[in-house]
Amino acid sequence: MITAEIVDKWMKLFYSKISEQKAYLSELDTPIGDGDHGNNMMRGMQGVEDSLDKLSNPDLKTILKTVAMALISKVGGAAGPLYGTAFLEMAKNCEKTQAPAELFKLALEGIKKRGGATTGDKTMIDVWAPAVAALETDSLSVEKIEAAAAGTKDLVAKKGRASYLGERSVGHLDPGAVSSQYLFESFIEAGGIE
């Protein structure tokens, strides 16, 4: 059951992971991208933090929509619309269901639709898809997420900037997959699957 409190905790944890790993994420984005993913996510999460600070006792829909709008209007690049769309989809549907498996599944569909990528394209989807599958069987764990992110190393990028490298993208982690790893880890730490 996702609640407003969990989202609030989740975002705080995610923000602190992004702060810690900002340089690392940008570094991952350098050989196969344009070196800004850490900065982009940091700017976005600062925006999320600022926006959430202004809310008092928000309901689930409000908090999810606030996160979405902050990400959409602060991140830019590829990650902004994708993460933004994910939270927007959750906000849209959270009155019907609060089950993580269902909400994350809808979010993943939003990401796929927005970016036109699919599993195996070496994007954040390669963390989101296995994470959603694990949620559906109640088996999401930090290990699974880490493994999914690590698995992007062997893939050839088909979408995003890394795709310009073709075969040469092999051997590098996808930065968006790693930031998504942090997102799911934070979700678990925030008690999202208890």
Binding site: D34, G76, A78, P81, R114, K159
Partner: protein, 331 residues
Amino acid sequence: MKKIINSPGDVVPEMIDGLVRAYPQYVERIPGTEAVVRSNKSSMDGKVGIVSGGGSGHEPAHPGFVGKGMLSAAVAGQVFTSPTPDQIYEAIKAVNTGRGVFLVIKNYSGDVMNFDMASDMAELDDIPVKSIIVDDDIAVENSLYTQGRRGVAGTVLMHKLVGAAADQGASLEEIEELANKALPHISTIAVALSAATVPEVGKPGFELADDEIEYGVGIHSEPGYRREKIKTSHELAEELVSKIDRELKLDATHRYAILVNGMGATPLMEQYVFSHDLLDELATRKIKPAFMKVGNYMTSIDMAGISLTIFDLIDEKWLDYLNYPVETIAW
């Protein structure tokens, strides 16, 4: 990193501020955004609005091309990062005078998605929006299954084309048709001598040895297709022209427009020397350009290098559009 800046995080707002205050006769800031719009508002009356933009770091693109006869507004994202949909949406609203708005988007996932979201927002306001996704960089093989090719310096020629058509009263549909028809005839290829340093990153996007160059790099330090020892200008011209020839099938009976584009740190001295070799190389193919420009138009911050764009002017009118007078900072 040695740059004339204050805090790396403030580069974009300060740059836009410097630009609009230096050139109030051409552009002004759309309040609350990093987007600029024409100061000459009446020049937009009854015309389709043209909006472009993208990450910053490509100056004078895109704000330098805002003005009568070219762009109506330009949106600046963070350095090498697509602008956000809310800002693009503000620009669309600012230039819509009832005949709709046309978006010139460079083919990057981020740009495409953010401009898409902005179009969705504008459609809720019943503003008709159409767009072209420019993918002129032939360094990357094209494929339906990937992101496809990048949008680079040829985008500036697209701005010029649709800007002139809009100024002459073309409808949104006519502009879309023009853009779609012209796009496959614009090809660009670049060579880098050094990479750009994003202020917030603080070091170059890639390293090239003192005697190395890289063909086919993008405008965000995206890697190219081959690394080699430094070549003469003559050999570079040969390589770049032959790459484009394979794509456009250069034909002595056609008319061509040429854009030799400096990447930011390459002086005009080198750009003109390269132009000399380029024109010789084209002359061996019996081609003499009908239109040519040399200079910094779509840069990559402080990257050293050059790109070559060739535009096959298969339609009579396109040359007129290129020559059509504009009132901008940088065309």
